[in-house]
Symmetry: C2
Subunit: 253 residues, 2 copies
Amino acid sequence: MTATVAETSADSSIRRNSGVSLWRQISDRIRRLETDGQLDADGRLPPEFRLAEEFGVNRHTVRSAISHLVQEGVLRTEQGRGTFFRSRPRLAYPIGRRTRFSAGLEGQTSTLQTVLVDSATVPADTRVAEALGMAPQAHTVWLRTIGLADGEPVSTAESWFPADSLGGIADTFRRTGSITAALAALGVADYTRRSTVLTATHAGDDDLARLKLAPGAIVLATESVNVDPAGRPIQYSRTRFSADRIELTIENG
Amino acid sequence: MTATVAETSADSSIRRNSGVSLWRQISDRIRRLETDGQLDADGRLPPEFRLAEEFGVNRHTVRSAISHLVQEGVLRTEQGRGTFFRSRPRLAYPIGRRTRFSAGLEGQTSTLQTVLVDSATVPADTRVAEALGMAPQAHTVWLRTIGLADGEPVSTAESWFPADSLGGIADTFRRTGSITAALAALGVADYTRRSTVLTATHAGDDDLARLKLAPGAIVLATESVNVDPAGRPIQYSRTRFSADRIELTIENG
DNA sequence: TACTATTTGTACGTATGTATT
DNA sequence: TAATACATACGTACAAATAGT
């Protein structure tokens, strides 16, 4: 049984002169095959000549698409045998009242890590001040972190904390390696998520660098506020997830 | 040529030989300026020569990017004055226990509509049967709907309902024009959302046609199950939102 | 072992699109 | 507007590796 990629021989979804090269469009389509489940169990891609037929392009163009995906580590080719996906299932990341990075992905990967890459004390801009319920220009501690699953970056976040009550969060994070533990050490025994706003865009150059993505990749962006048991905002965050690697599950109730 | 700010900022964001033409990358970047809020209040774009400097490309290339966005209806140019966004703010669509399309977008648009474009009675595949807690191959009613805000498509959904209890949902929907009203007419006075899974991908050809998107556009995809007050699954849906037009807000508690 | 069919890898030539100068 | 350089895409042909007969 072969995987059917397109229903007709000349696929209308590949567009010429769109500003995106054919190999790039095909590369994106092949990437989607994996997650859309239109694939054999062994993760084998149809042969090049067949993909060329189905996409309505020359075999070279398909080869160009495949070679870029090999470069990226998505595919693996074996001469005489075929082309295969290096299987990397998408991680399910729960978003709810009690969202925590490490707890969320537990059990789905062998190693999990949150790395602090930068921090500073900065005045709150209007958006940050509003989210944290502070006066504009009030001092906040800003952290830039990257979430690693099995050593590979899957998310990156900017977080702001009120400097008056949580001024030591950067140092504490460096010692503990976790936001939850750092907050606990600073007297915030528990916290819950008050709100999350979710959008999706093309990855910017920051995202490409930090999440090691290819141009044109997609990021899921969340904007969220955590509050302590008394309802006081303690953390405002903007997180960007690699959409290829992560799916978000929303917990109701 | 002297070393300038333009040179240093040039090589970071726009990539040559990435399979995406420079004008297309710049076009995508300009599109993002609007939603990322890096813009003057009047929606005015910096002059072409400045954009060319900042992106590190020739002014011709910027002009090519802008002319495509004008073609698409995203920008509007005025000779001698400048280039402006035709502003279309993103709609906030809440996802929570009591998610409903019409209630969600109320007050943000002048007209709202859910249109039924196709329906059929089909046997449940494994995924649908599992979600609805039915036997595989059991009869379900399938609906394809499109959500319109101010006459423009912003979402499209496939929904499955158990045919035994809700066999008349298609006809009832045609009369009432709303899922909530149709369910009420069939004896389901109330329902809540049990789960939502969220991913983001490039728009497929189906999405492009139904949501009137440009190639390379992004869709937010949700997979959700609604249950009646007794906890019985009554609806399984796959919805695709135009990421340019919609942001999802997650209600906790 | 040898033969064949299948599939990936390499090479050359040509035409067109893209971007700069 | 024109000249130039390079990327993209196609067509054809053949070489190399694999699996089965």
